[in-house]
Assembly symmetry: C2
DNA sequence: CAGCAAACATAGGTATGACTAAACAGCAGG
DNA sequence: CCTGCTGTTTAGTCATACCTATGTTTGCTG
């Protein structure tokens, strides 16, 4: 039987997975805030249960079944977050922690009732893509702010951080999902990003710029301007 | 740190407790569907954590702190049941099981938001009294149907059973919270109760009559009668 | 290519919470 | 008073999931 712990590990593995290389024990341990030994132990149980493919001293990768579970848990989490915020008026800084506990416990059936109530949203509280009902993950078409070109006009699609302090800071400078911004300058030596947002100039450190995802704003000047 | 298991045991102890004698290990084990040995083990942990008073070979009783936790869990459970049914449209036979999982996980803060949304109800889905926000348990003024006098006009206040089959049967004969009924006859030898409910005559066995709580109907002129 | 440090795995310990099997307490009846 | 039954507790085992301490690999670097 699956436990909350295994669900959490699978979720963490999904976040860490990339096309290229398998996830390292240390990376998993760091994200889960446990020792490497504990991570090894859990990886072995997951491998035994066929939820991951594992080779010692090499790395670990989700199996199709493991991925399915991870996406389900992530969908639950994001729907619950939205539900807590929009339907129950839970303050944004408490929503994440509460959803963390609920996600393992709320039945799929009830999550889908919440999703219906919310109008089957495609993105979560901070703009994260939500896995679909059937387990498919929509393709991510945006890119990280840190990689964007100078002078580009951008729209924030997602904030990839759930730390309350970080979010609070971003709110204070007017940066959140759907904010518009322009990159003014990239400082060579310390990699700081100077941006214009809401009529003001702000500076972002590289770690922050790495956690904000953006999409290019369509250039609409010349033809019929349509404001939505 | 409290766990789901300890919460469940405390809840069970609250249900079993009476003024007179302490709860027996066997009774607790039966309700929790574990062996007596397991119950003993848990009782010892609860005693160690000062959540119960315990004497070997004698019995166990909730401490004030244990009682406080039990009442909190029960309040959570009942509010969540109502919320699931009324706000999310979860069908009545699935509500109990879902709430069983949620009750340990939903923060007090969010439960109270649900309670506000529901208008701070005093009774649960099946008419059970809900412990108050501050931990007080309202006094039970009703009594069990099995003890009621013949000829009495009664209103159902509570159905003390969460078995889906039992509930389904009661629904089918038109008995639920707020139903009105009259006791026609009590059969001496097999203790069956003959009642009039919704214009029909029904017969209840003693085990069922023991699980239904009723209040005497105030004798008033029938002007604003609520139909359920 | 050898050697070393970082990354990873194993061994052994703890707590929870379940189980079975076996010992033991307490009360009733002979 | 002792015997025996019922109820209860103890003892020992197992799985999960964490820890610390200690080995083992791997890959980088001189």
């Amino acid at each position: 039987m699956r436990s909350q712990s295994t669900d959490d590990y699978l979720k963490a593995l999904y976040k860490l997975e990339t096309e290229e290389k398998p996830v390292s024990t240390t990376a998993l341990a760091r994200l889960m805030k446990v020792t490497a030994a504990s991570a090894t132990g859990m990886i072995q149980r997951l491998a035994r249960d066929k939820l991951v493919a594992y080779r010692r001293y090499y790395g670990v990768r989700l199996s199709p079944e493991g991925k399915r579970i991870a996406l389900r848990v992530i969908r639950n989490h994001r729907i619950i977050e939205l539900f807590l915020a929009e339907e129950l008026g839970v303050s944004w800084d408490k929503v994440h922690q509460e959803a963390e506990a609920w996600e393992h416990v709320v039945s799929t059936e009830v999550v889908e009732k919440m999703a219906d109530r919310l109008g089957n949203p495609k993105r979560g509280q901070r703009g994260q893509l939500i896995p679909e009902r059937d387990g498919a993950m929509p393709e991510q078409r945006d890119h990280v702010l840190a990689d964007a070109a100078i002078g580009a006009l951008l729209r924030v699609t997602e904030v990839e951080d759930d730390d309350a302090g970080v979010l609070q800071h971003l709110v204070s400078i007017g940066l959140g999902p759907d904010s518009r911004l322009e990159i003014t300058e990239r400082r060579q030596y310390d990699n700081l990003l100077v941006i214009r947002v809401g009529g003001k100039t702000e500076i972002l450190g590289p770690s922050l710029a790495q956690r904000i995802r953006v999409a290019r704003l369509p250039v609409v000047r010349r033809s019929k301007e349509k404001v939505v």
